[in-house]
């Protein structure tokens, strides 16, 4: 990565270099060696640890035996966003964490092998799957992110007519817009979108439900609806100075770097990132790669409570990001032109008491206020829920989390199913991972197939 002095300007060249995929893929020799190390376990724990249950020993064996098409097919069959997941899954916590070799040597690099096989599929241009015989049943999918794509892909393979309504100009959701390019280049996500489109799924982009298409139209026009609209941007902090110039939404910040050089200017600036989740880390490393002179993460708790994965934390440290633990932002201070100049913070201490979320509760230390001189503040304290859309659809929810039947993903409206981040948090446990969204998309697709099974038979019957 290129570090710069405050005097130089951020050039397109620098952008290309700094935002190119950071981790190199496996070479052919590397892939052969690594795949041959796999024990090909029976009833393998890595499969059970994968939310989408990819048959990992099988796809690895296929790499080892030079059957990359079969390998990619195994991966993508279980996970319609398997190429993205190869890059963004917290594999240490999932498949690789479950690998039996952890106990005796080193776990198999499943993520890199998965990337090797899916990269092959992407570059070869093969179409791995086909649409099913049309069954006359139509499904509208709201949201073209991992959950929506996953549901759409599964339904299309079974012969359902599927239309995805995507609010943004490009489908792919978080994978396309929300994960830094140096971890997940946009082309990967767009390839996955294309694979779904090739099955006859129509993706209507720039279509906001409730604005560009009405709820009534959807309900009348489709047999079933899958709500997979994810979450929104970052909610306000609720402190003074949030409207100053130089205050950014972390998700928007990342998003602006996904399709080209962002207009925002961080070159040589001092940046404070508020929050300590994976998005906060993304925003921080993004700022570094946009040329920021100094990036500090400001978090009111300690490292022990931060939700970012260990490997994300390590990556941020390597990138030179600093961490201010037990620091609570009080207000953002600007100059007379309305530009950020400092972040006022207060020191915190852990009380020793456990909060409702099971984490140690922090408390401000009286009189410990101090000023952090910064030029920009990036806010990364979670994501807004899509309450407006959920209510427009007339669905029951708990503070923006759509209530569903755990088995089928069906909402309070029997015509509507929900999957992905829009149901995340409702006692679902686990983490809002791309791979979980993919799994939920598959689950609702299966529930819809189950409900409509028999329907195509009767059509055939009447025709004969």
């Amino acid at each position: 990565m290129e570090r710069t002095s405050p005097l130089t300007t951020f050039t397109p060249d620098m952008f290309m270099r700094n935002f190119a995929e950071a981790e190199p893929g496996l070479t052919r020799k590397g892939a052969i060696e690594e795949s041959n190390r796999c024990l090909y376990c029976y009833d393998a724990p890595c499969i059970k640890a994968c939310p989408t249950s990819i048959n990992i020993p099988s796809f690895i064996r296929r790499i080892a035996t030079d059957n990359l098409r079969g390998s990619a097919q195994t991966i993508m069959d279980s996970n319609p966003v398997g190429a993205s997941c190869a890059r963004v899954c917290p594999t240490e916590e999932l498949c690789e964490g479950a690998c039996v070799l952890n106990d005796v040597s080193e776990p198999i690099q499943i993520g890199l092998l998965q990337r090797y096989a899916t990269d092959w599929a992407m570059h070869s241009g093969v179409q791995l799957f086909r649409a099913g015989e049309p069954n006359g049943v139509s499904v509208a999918v709201i949201g073209g992110g991992p959950a929506g794509l996953s549901a759409a892909r599964e339904l299309a393979r079974e012969g359902f007519r599927v239309v995805i309504y995507e609010a943004k100009p490009l489908a792919g959701g978080l994978d396309t817009h929300g994960i830094v390019s140096f971890r997940l280049p946009q082309a990967i996500s767009l390839w996955e979108v294309e694979q779904v489109e090739k099955l006859g799924v129509e993706i209507r982009t720039g279509m906001k439900v409730g604005v560009d298409v009405s709820v009534e139209e959807l309900k009348a026009g489709y047999d079933a609806i899958v709500l997979a609209a994810g979450m929104g941007y970052v909610p306000p902090l609720g402190i003074e100075g949030e409207r100053l110039s130089g205050v950014y939404d972390a998700i928007e910040l990342v998003e602006t770097t996904k399709t080209g050089i962002p207009a925002l200017e961080l070159m040589g600036r001092r940046v404070a990132v508020i929050g300590a989740g994976n998005t906060a880390i993304d925003a921080a490393t993004c700022s570094v790669r946009l040329g920021a002179a100094n990036v500090k993460m400001v978090y009111r708790r300690t490292r022990g409570e931060m939700t970012a994965y260990d490997f994300e934390y390590e990556f941020a440290k390597q990138e030179g990001v600093e961490f201010n633990w037990l620091t609570l932002p009080k207000r953002i201070i600007g100059d007379e032109l309305g530009n950020v100049t400092a972040l006022e913070c207060v020191q915190m201490k852990l009380t020793g008491e456990t909060g409702p979320d099971g984490r140690l509760a922090p408390m401000p230390v009286e009189g410990s206020e101090f000023l952090l001189p910064v030029d920009a503040v990036v806010v990364a304290i979670g994501q807004k829920r899509r309450v407006g859309l959920i209510e427009a659809l007339g669905l029951e929810h708990d503070r923006g989390v759509v209530k569903i039947d755990a088995q089928t993903g069906r909402t309070s409206d029997p015509q509507i199913y929900a999957a992905g981040d829009i149901v995340f948090g409702a006692g679902s446990g686990g983490e809002a991972m791309v791979v979980s969204a993919a799994r939920q998309g598959k689950d609702v697709a299966r529930a819809i197939m189950k409900k409509w099974s028999g329907y195509p038979d009767s059509v055939v019957g009447s025709a004969v």
Partner: protein, 429 residues
């Protein structure tokens, strides 16, 4: 440090590591490099009427991402004039008087041809002769190599012709491409052989290119069978060495050949009756320097065993190798899984379930941990689980006291025929 020197049928060698007659012993330059690296002896690439070799000669079998599990060649004997080889043998012997040089020979099965070449080769000074009755390709079509090695009477006759004039020890190199190697070995001994060396290469086709559908290797789109060697052939070679070593009618020193690439292989071949060993493929793969690792490993092994001389290994395991019919049918081992070393890959379960006796259960213990357990009453002690197990110390094969006296099939058959005169079964050998 133990003494590594050997006396092989009267041939003194500083160590048991000899290069087999093959591409690495083609020239004086190579053999001298080998001696500098530490090889104790070399069997010069077979001398005879010079041949013309093909282009594309070698191929290998790779396994599980590892190169050269097996090796295949269609190269023939030396393609250089006899005078050139003899001159280089002379120079090499003069530079390395304490190292062993054996001349490998192959001529038409005619008495005068053998007499002529033996005299010419011995005249320049070699430590012994090795008669190549084993090369399976090219020369066999001309009635030499394996073609003569597959006919016991021709082996006997040719050995005898050589012995009529030879003044140095005569080693007969045997082909494995026969039904019972001891038959040929006995004929070599009857012909006067001072020692035998085995095995030569095994008839093979290394592979077929699944893209072009050509053979591997191919010479302009055509292939022919070659000779197979390398680590994959070691078990075949070892069993043939063992059969010859325990055959009383053979009874001459053995030079063990076939897939030897580590010091452990050397120990195994010597325990199974070899006085010395010969290596080719490991050198083809890694160069002459591989002998340094073999010598070092052997030295440490001998020191660890408290052995003063490598010769103390020779034949120690031969008495432990017999016939199936003499194995104790009342001996019982069962598999036991050590939970603390088990990594739960479940390979033992699926191997037993699909390929053996369905006696390894996947269970959950009281703490909710997944465990694997052998139902010992159903275990036949086949070893399969311990073979597929990738975790060190996870599966032990444990001997159980069956409470019964040892009883082999042959003993059992004799008892049955004694009890019932009208019924008898053939002994199993």
């Amino acid at each position: 440090m133990a003494d590594l020197s050997i006396d092989f049928a009267g041939i003194k060698s500083p160590n048991p590591f000899w290069l087999a007659s093959a591409p690495p012993t083609n020239t004086g330059y190579q053999v001298q490099r080998a001696f500098e690296a530490g090889w104790g002896g070399a069997v010069w690439k077979t001398l005879g009427e010079p041949v013309i070799n093909t282009s594309a000669r070698f191929a290998a079998v790779h396994f599980g991402g590892q190169r050269v599990a097996g090796f295949n060649n269609i190269e023939l004997i030396t393609d250089r004039p006899l005078e050139v080889n003899l001159k280089e043998i002379y120079e090499t012997k003069r530079r390395f008087p304490d190292h062993t040089i054996i001349a490998s020979l192959m001529v038409e099965p005619k008495r005068e041809k053998w007499h002529e070449i033996v005299k010419r080769v011995e005249a320049i000074g070699v430590d012994g002769l090795e008669l190549n009755f084993g090369c399976p390709h090219g020369m066999a079509e001309r009635g030499m190599g394996a073609a003569s090695g597959q006919q016991p009477d021709l082996v006997l006759a040719q050995t005898a012709w050589v012995k009529e004039v030879a003044t140095t020890p005569v080693i007969v190199k045997l082909t494995p491409n026969i039904t019972d190697i001891t038959v040929v070995a006995r004929h070599a001994v009857k012909g006067g052989a001072d020692a035998i060396s085995l095995i030569n290469t095994i008839n093979s086709l290394a592979g077929v290119d699944i893209h072009s559908w050509n053979t591997i290797p191919n010479v302009g789109g055509q292939g022919a069978h070659g000779g197979y060697c390398g680590p994959a052939v070691k078990p075949i070679a070892l069993s043939m060495v063992a059969e010859c070593a325990r055959d009383r009618e053979v009874g001459v020193p053995i030079s063990g050949i076939g897939g030897i690439s580590t010091w452990q292989d050397v120990v195994e071949f010597m325990l199974m009756g070899s006085t010395g060993i010969q290596v080719c493929t490991a050198v083809m793969h890694h160069g002459f320097r591989i002998v340094e690792e073999m010598i070092d490993g052997l030295n440490h092994y001998l020191d660890g065993k408290g052995l003063a001389s490598v010769t103390e290994l020779i034949g120690q395991s031969v008495p432990r190798y017999s016939n199936w019919g003499d194995l104790d049918l009342n001996y019982k081992v069962v598999a036991r899984i050590n939970e603390e070393n088990c990594i739960n890959c479940n390979k033992c379960h699926i191997a037993c379930e699909d390929a053996s006796h369905q006696c390894i259960d996947m269970l959950t213990n009281a703490e909710g941990k997944a465990i694997l357990q052998v139902r010992e009453e159903d275990c036949v002690g086949c070893n399969l689980c311990s073979i597929v197990c990738p975790a060190d110390g996870a599966i032990d094969m444990v001997a159980l006291d069956s409470g019964l006296a040892p009883m082999s099939w042959n003993q059992r058959s004799r008892i049955i025929s004694g009890v019932n005169g009208s019924y008898s079964e053939a002994e199993v050998v």
